[in-house]
């Protein structure tokens, strides 16, 4: 029965095989509906399977660990995957004949990240990381169009490859310092030898690769270009699911450096710079995806505050934040995909008149950005509240104050988005945006999650707390 432990991973392998078959057999002129419905059904199944496996526990030798922490993140990932598939019925940004590959790569990427959150051995982690990264490199370059996406794809690939190299170098240093590739064993070695410079350098370098995924300063340079260059659905995936995976990974590794104050101080600096730089850069953005990219840099900083507390509450706050960020960022991308129905990019001013074209999308946009900005009663507020509480417990008063000032800066540009959606009128009147009934239901469900997460976050927080306990255990 041990196979049951990796049921979600197996399921994603199966999905990849299905899409592979589609890619081999489907003729380009064939209708795409069958493919999309298959994808949707399989994605729904993925959510069910991943959630059903939530309580499993066990491990494969010392390499692969299945515990509450990994299962919670697998559920998040499956959820993110499902949500992204939900906004793919049109897919104008991808050529029809490439669509089976699009689904295939999306599944493989999610599979890679699922393996990532369970791996506790350096080599496995590296392989899982590359599995997800390579799928993403191709996904970014898949966009239909003339040139922009190649720049984004190549930039992402080169920077990503460099980040991988740094990670490998870091892993080699860790191995050199303690002669182990297994995380629990490394943790032991760290506690006896906390101040070995080689170990700390190795740890920082390894984390650099994961910070790259998280788009944390100074590894954020790819984010605006890739967000802008990739197809909207792919950007939505990068902005939601991969962030959750990256947070999980950083959590696993950060625990190794808990003993070292140098390490924690380094994280403090990175968090502060990342928040401030991301928010200030976002203020001047005109393209909605670039704006969200810089806001992602800022959010990476907020999450890092939770992580650098090195306490159970801090980790729980970071886990909660991962779920919150996935939800609220996704709804922004949902609006973006629906408004930019030709698959192009969207300037903030092009949201003008949205409240007339589709009131429900306008409300979603408002809820999404206010949640990103951390206004109560939204799940984004609760996330920030938990992160700041954890930081305060460790006595970082000024860090919390800087965080709040950043929240203030970010609200300025978020409000400009709301203003565009609600108060500006387009120069020529645009047609109303029609939404299908399932889409409306999905939007309502997400809005409910956002508001309930703001008023009554008990369930999700308890879950995050248990997951954090499993992480440090």
């Amino acid at each position: 029965m041990t196979w049951m432990l990796i049921a979600p991973e197996l399921y994603f392998c199966f999905m990849a095989a299905v899409f592979f078959t589609f890619g081999m057999t489907a003729r380009p002129e064939a209708k795409q509906d069958g493919l999309y419905l298959t994808a949707l059904g399989l994605a729904l199944g993925a959510v069910v399977v991943s959630t059903a496996c939530g309580c499993l526990q066990g491990s494969f030798s010392t390499i692969y660990r299945v515990d509450l922490f990994s299962q919670v993140f697998k559920a998040f990932l499956a959820m993110g995957y499902f949500l992204v598939i939900c906004i793919c019925p049109e897919l104008p940004g991808i050529e029809p004949k490439r669509r089976p590959e699009f689904y295939l790569l999306l599944s493989v990427c999610t599979l890679g990240m699922m393996m990532l959150v369970s791996s506790v051995e350096l080599l496995t982690i590296y392989i899982a990381l590359e599995l997800s990264s390579y799928s993403l490199y191709i996904l970014v370059a898949l966009r239909r169009g003339e040139g922009r996406h190649f720049e984004a794809g190549i930039k992402y690939f080169l920077l990503g490859a460099a980040a991988s190299a740094v990670t490998l170098f870091g892993m080699a240093s860790i191995y050199g310092a303690c002669g182990e590739t297994n995380l629990p064993a490394i943790l032991n070695a760290v506690s006896t030898n906390a101040h070995s410079p080689m170990l700390m350098v190795g740890l920082v370098l390894t984390l650099s690769g994961f910070f790259f995924k998280l788009a944390l300063f100074p590894f954020h340079f790819w984010a605006p270009n890739v967000y802008e260059g990739a197809a909207n659905q792919v950007t939505a995936y990068i902005a939601t699911a991969t962030k959750a995976g990256a947070i999980a990974l950083v959590l696993r590794f950060a625990t190794l450096g808990a003993e070292s104050t140098y390490f924690v101080h380094l994280l403090v600096v990175l968090a502060v710079v990342s928040m401030t730089l991301g928010n200030l850069a976002a203020v001047v953005q005109k393209d909605l995806k670039r704006l969200l990219a810089y806001s992602a840099v800022a959010h990476a900083g907020y999450v890092l505050i939770g992580i650098l507390c090195m306490s159970e509450n801090g980790f729980a706050a970071a886990i909660f934040y991962a779920a919150a960020y996935l939800t609220m960022n996704f709804i922004c991308f949902l609006v973006l995909v629906k408004v930019a129905d030709q698959g192009g990019n969207l300037e903030v001013v092009e949201l003008a008149g949205l409240h007339r074209r589709s009131p429900i999308l306008a409300v979603s946009m408002m809820a999404g950005v206010f949640s990103l900005g951390g206004l109560p009663p939204t799940i984004g507020f609760t996330g920030k509240f938990l992160v700041f509480t954890a930081a305060m417990e460790k006595g970082y008063f000024s860090l919390v104050l800087i965080g709040m000032i950043n929240v203030l800066i970010s609200l300025y540009y978020y409000v400009l988005v709301v203003k565009a959606a609600y108060f500006s009128e387009p120069e020529e009147s645009l047609p109303a945006i029609r939404l299908s009934f399932p889409t409306k239901v999905m939007i309502l469900a997400i809005l409910t999650v956002i508001v309930v997460g703001g008023f009554y976050p008990d369930f999700l927080y308890s879950l995050a707390l248990s997951a954090a306990k499993a992480l440090v255990a």
Binding site: P376, P377, F381, F385, F397, L408, S462
Partner: protein
């Protein structure tokens, strides 16, 4: 135990009447403007009735917390859903009920995007009610921000006079306030050592060290002070009030600024009494400057709404001065002034709003002789102006008198400054009234209709309230004083 009347969750019922109103508005199609107005009026009327009932049913001899509702909300963080009334928040709940109801009626003639207007308006009011009745710090903060964010759309869509600038300034200022409040709040929560966010658990003496109280008080005072219009953080208020549509100005100057003052009282002073005693002289300085400054800047204004807005800055300074005296009398006066000023300023803004709607101008030199064109509408403004001057017979008289008497004992200089400022402002208001409503008639406005009895009704309600509490101040004082005395006795000497 038999269930009694006071076991019925009246406070939640007030919230629920707002939330149900909101849901109903959202469900009704936007075309049916009449139905939306009636639903809004009905729902706001219901919350007003519940508010009046609470005010009447509050046991004045017993005092203390009544109508308590307490449920564990999040155990892991010690958050409770904890609502109650005492002598401090009861007047403000009543105030909110009155201004909410009259504000809906004042906007009866609105035609543009009616559904969205009332939906946002109800979100705002829900937040305000929640803030006043909540006794849990977490919920207090959540409701505080819920009441802030609808201000931006309300001003930008339906406002006038540099509305985008005014709205953005207001929004960022007020959120800067919450950026100071939240760290202080979390700081207190962490330092309280597991008490949780329960306000009454946290205010037990000895929970916080004197240093912690002084430190947190500063942040809380500045954070809430921004919303209370404390000089020099008041600059959002005139531009915001002027830009806002009528009922939003009413609600904002009438109720929202009290959120700030009440936050100073309920959070900063309750939790950090030693910080309060330590910083009080500085609070008095800022409050006195605010009183004088509001009057002096008001003198130079030619826009009626700016005149009213700067008088609000000055009157909120009186609230601040009352809080700064650290005496029972000063606290009582401050709470009374919050109530009286809220009603008075709502009346003034609603009268100016009517003039502005009809004449399309708020400029004092352009208006003139209005009392011969629209006598009733003019009368409403003039009554409001008299109330603002502190003429006996209106609630404001008692409130200002109480504060200034207590200020004379503690800070004689501030007392003298405040009295002189009030005298100047009275003279000035009389000149505004004279120029606007008497004198040469502007022929351009000659044919304009006077305010109809239906539209006049909300203003009459406001005047009646001012007069009622002006002639029977004990109605209000009996509610406020037991709680004030109980609180002052618990202070460390």
């Amino acid at each position: 135990m038999n269930p009694t009347l006071s076991d019925f969750p009246f406070l939640s019922a007030i919230m629920l009447s707002c939330i149900l109103g909101l849901v109903a508005i959202l469900v009704i199609p936007g075309r049916q403007k009449g139905l939306i107005r009636w639903v809004s009026a009905f729902s706001s009327g219901l919350s007003l009735i519940l508010g009046i009932f609470l005010f009447a049913a509050y046991d004045r001899t017993q005092g203390g917390l009544q109508f308590v509702e307490k449920i564990v909300w999040m155990k892991s963080l010690g958050i409770h859903y904890f609502n109650a009334v005492d002598g401090f928040n009861l007047p403000l709940l009543l105030l909110t009920g009155i201004v909410h109801f009259t504000g809906v009626l004042t906007m009866w003639e609105l035609e543009e995007r009616v559904k969205e207007f009332f939906a946002l308006y109800f979100v705002l009011v829900t937040g305000v009610f929640g803030f006043f009745m909540s006794m849990d710090l977490f919920f207090l903060f959540v409701w505080y921000d819920v009441s802030l964010f609808p201000m931006y759309p309300l001003i930008v869509i339906w406002g006038s006079t540099r509305k985008e600038y005014g709205a953005m300034k207001l929004f960022l200022y007020l959120l800067a306030g919450s950026a100071l409040i939240l760290p202080a709040m979390i700081y207190l929560f962490v330092q309280s050592g597991g008490v949780g966010f329960d306000l009454f658990g946290m205010m037990q003496p000895g929970t916080f060290s004197p240093f912690q109280q002084k430190f947190a008080f500063l942040f809380l005072y500045l954070g809430f002070g921004i919303l209370a219009g404390v000089w020099p953080f008041h600059t959002w208020s005139p531009s915001g009030h002027v830009a806002a549509p009528t009922s939003v100005s009413m609600l904002h100057a009438g109720v929202l600024m009290k959120l700030g003052a009440f936050g100073v009282l309920r959070v900063a002073i309750f939790l950090c009494p030693e910080g309060w005693q330590y910083w009080a002289p500085w609070m008095a300085v800022l409050a006195t400057i605010g009183i004088v400054y509001g009057v002096l800047v008001g003198l130079t204004q030619t826009d009626l709404k700016y005149v009213v807005a700067y008088s609000s800055v000055s009157h909120m300074g009186i609230v601040g001065l009352g809080l700064a005296t650290v005496t029972a009398q000063g606290l009582t006066g401050a709470v009374y002034q919050m109530f009286a000023h809220g009603i008075m300023t709502a009346l003034l803004f609603s009268s100016v709003g009517y003039l502005h709607d009809k004449t399309d101008t708020k400029s004092i030199p352009e208006l003139g002789g209005m009392s011969r064109i629209m006598p009733v509408a003019s009368a409403y403004f003039i009554v409001g102006a008299f109330a603002g001057m502190g003429v006996p017979g209106f609630a404001n008289f008692w409130a200002e008198l109480t504060v200034i008497l207590s200020a004379f004992k503690v800070y004689p200089v501030s007392g003298v400054a405040a009295v002189s400022a009030l005298v100047i402002s009275a003279l000035f208001m009389l000149r505004v009234v004279q120029k606007t409503f008497y004198g040469e008639k502007n022929q351009r406005f000659a044919g304009l209709p006077d305010v109809s009895p239906a539209l006049g009704f909300p203003r009459m309600v406001l005047i009646a309230t001012l007069v009622l509490f002006g002639f029977f101040p004990s109605l209000m004082l009996d509610v406020i004083q037991p709680s004030v005395f109980a609180f002052m006795e618990g202070l460390p000497k």
